[in-house]
Symmetry: C2
Subunit: 330 residues, 2 copies
């Protein structure tokens, strides 16, 4: 098999449980095995038993480091020395940057100029080279292709990549190892990498589990796609959950249709309210995108009563100068 074929295969075929287990073996020395938090007071709010998988405590502050590390460390030495490139509004870019630095290779990150300052700084702190683009998908792809041609770097797409998806699935793998008898597992959905990996791992380990994707009502492309049976874009993407504005790709859409039971939506107010509850009760910094999965449980978008529910808190990166529920200090 040629390198080109390997890359193509990696990109288009869905991973299975064995692939996710292999990914876990590959990355386990590089990542944090993140803790699972519980809270009596949040259980009381939901009327359920909640198990929070704290990927906000993952290295680089989000689950993205799992998929990025699996992808970067799956490359052959020959591939790796060309460096890696990606398009990311932040967390995937930071994750790729650190994974590349760990492997001793270069990373280029194409990022909209308007991305949160904290996320851009993180990419640079991990040694990634930021190249700015416009916000449009066309601009991102054009800038990325030009840079790829110029550098020879290998593209690691944030979710249209089976190695990335397999890496993201390791969070649910750990969660179900620790709490095997979950009734429901909830993960946020944007491009669908985390939810795909979560769904494959969860349904393989526990076929009776209900897998729910959580999405902002203001960026409801996955919800619409699920309903329509084809990939649709959102009416708008004006959400505080800035990490959840991407659109599904054919690979993730096909995995979600096969393994996900439901996509549930939350409003902006519900996202903020959930985020504040997590900060108050868990004493954890969770970014708005990371609070969306908790939002659908704490605001009864699914019926949580009496259930054992795993909730993936996907990330904790936000600009502390712009905490959305903070008033100016005295």
């Amino acid at each position: 098999m040629t390198t080109a074929q390997t890359e193509q295969t990696a990109a288009v075929s869905a991973p299975d449980l064995a692939t996710i287990r292999a990914a876990h073996e590959r990355i386990r020395a590089q990542i944090h095995r993140t803790p699972v938090f519980t809270s009596e007071s949040l259980d009381a709010v939901a009327g359920a038993h909640l198990f929070f998988k704290c990927e906000n405590l993952q290295k680089t502050g989000s689950f993205k480091f799992r998929g990025a590390t699996n992808a970067v460390f799956s490359l052959s030495d020959e591939e790796a020395k060309r460096g890696v490139i990606t398009v990311s509004s932040g967390n995937h870019g930071a994750a790729i940057s650190l994974a590349a630095r760990r492997r001793g290779i270069s990373a280029w990150v194409v990022m909209p100029g308007e991305a949160p300052r904290a996320k851009r700084q993180a990419v640079e702190a991990y040694g990634g080279r930021v190249t700015e683009c416009e916000y449009s998908m066309e601009s991102r792809e054009a800038v990325c292709k030009a840079l790829q041609k110029q550098t020879g770097a290998i593209l690691i797409h944030p979710y249209n990549n089976a190695r990335v998806i397999a890496g993201q699935g390791t969070a649910a793998l750990e969660l179900l190892e620790e709490v095997p008898d979950l009734d429901i597992v909830v993960a946020p959905v944007s491009g669908g990498g985390l939810l795909s990996g979560t769904a494959i791992a969860s349904k393989s380990l526990r076929p009776s589990i209900r897998v729910v994707g959580a999405e902002p009502k203001n960026a409801d492309d996955a919800y619409r796609s699920f309903a329509a049976g084809r990939i649709e874009s959102a009416a708008n993407t004006e959400t505080i959950a800035d990490g959840l504005r991407a659109v599904l790709c054919p690979l993730t859409f096909s995995i979600l249709r096969q393994h996900v039971d439901e996509i549930a939506l939350v409003t902006e107010e519900e996202i903020l309210s959930a985020m504040r509850l997590l900060w108050e009760r868990l004493k954890l910094i969770v970014e708005p995108s990371g609070a969306v999965s908790a939002g659908i449980v704490l605001h009864n978008k699914i019926d949580p009563r009496g259930k054992r529910i795993g909730i993936i808190l996907s990330g904790g990166n936000l600009d502390l100068d712009q905490i959305p529920f903070a008033r100016a200090a005295k």
Copy 2:
């Protein structure tokens, strides 16, 4: 021994390691064994190996639940049925309230009217009955004595109580069980209960360890007392670390003089800077008082270079409407 004698003995004699171990046995099923966090990026800031004992993740959001639980569960059934009373600007009051509820008894908490709203709400949420007083020590004691007389409740002082001190010492006990080879351990000092328990446990388990108390420069009574050889009050107590404004008592002062190597001071700016770093890098909500111990390490008030340093993050309760470094959201 009469009940009155038992109470007196509990209040005036310093606990030893055996007492702290017994306290741990008594409370271990009630408390969280809090995690110890590490951070490569904070290690790089300090040039040291830092081990954060996360008492902000303790039940009720602070280490105070350890001492409160030990004191409440040490009472005889006859004593307990009278209920308990305390004076607290917040965290000890919340801790006593939950400990009392767990034991099925009443708790009265005397609290200045100006205490942070979030702390008052926590007391009430745990079933404690708040009675307001003026900010002065005289008012607190007068209100407390009147209420004690009226209700017959047993006073559990926030730190002038050996059972409370023994309970607080269990945090360092757990920390040194997990990381036995620490060079330095740092805890904040206010009335001195946590630092006393930390010092006794740490010096007993590891005589070579250096025990450092961390105090706001703006409420430097322990620093002055240490220097003067007698209990002194601070010049003022205008500090953002609102939990660190109490003054040592003879019991804690005598323990600190025996077991603590140094009291180090941090400015208000350094407290805020440390707190922000903890939020950013550990993704943990730590209150200003809880960040003081990290502040003396991250701002080089002691020489941390190359050392293995245990840092007790004492609490995570603050009003999220008044985050001190937040600007108003966009």
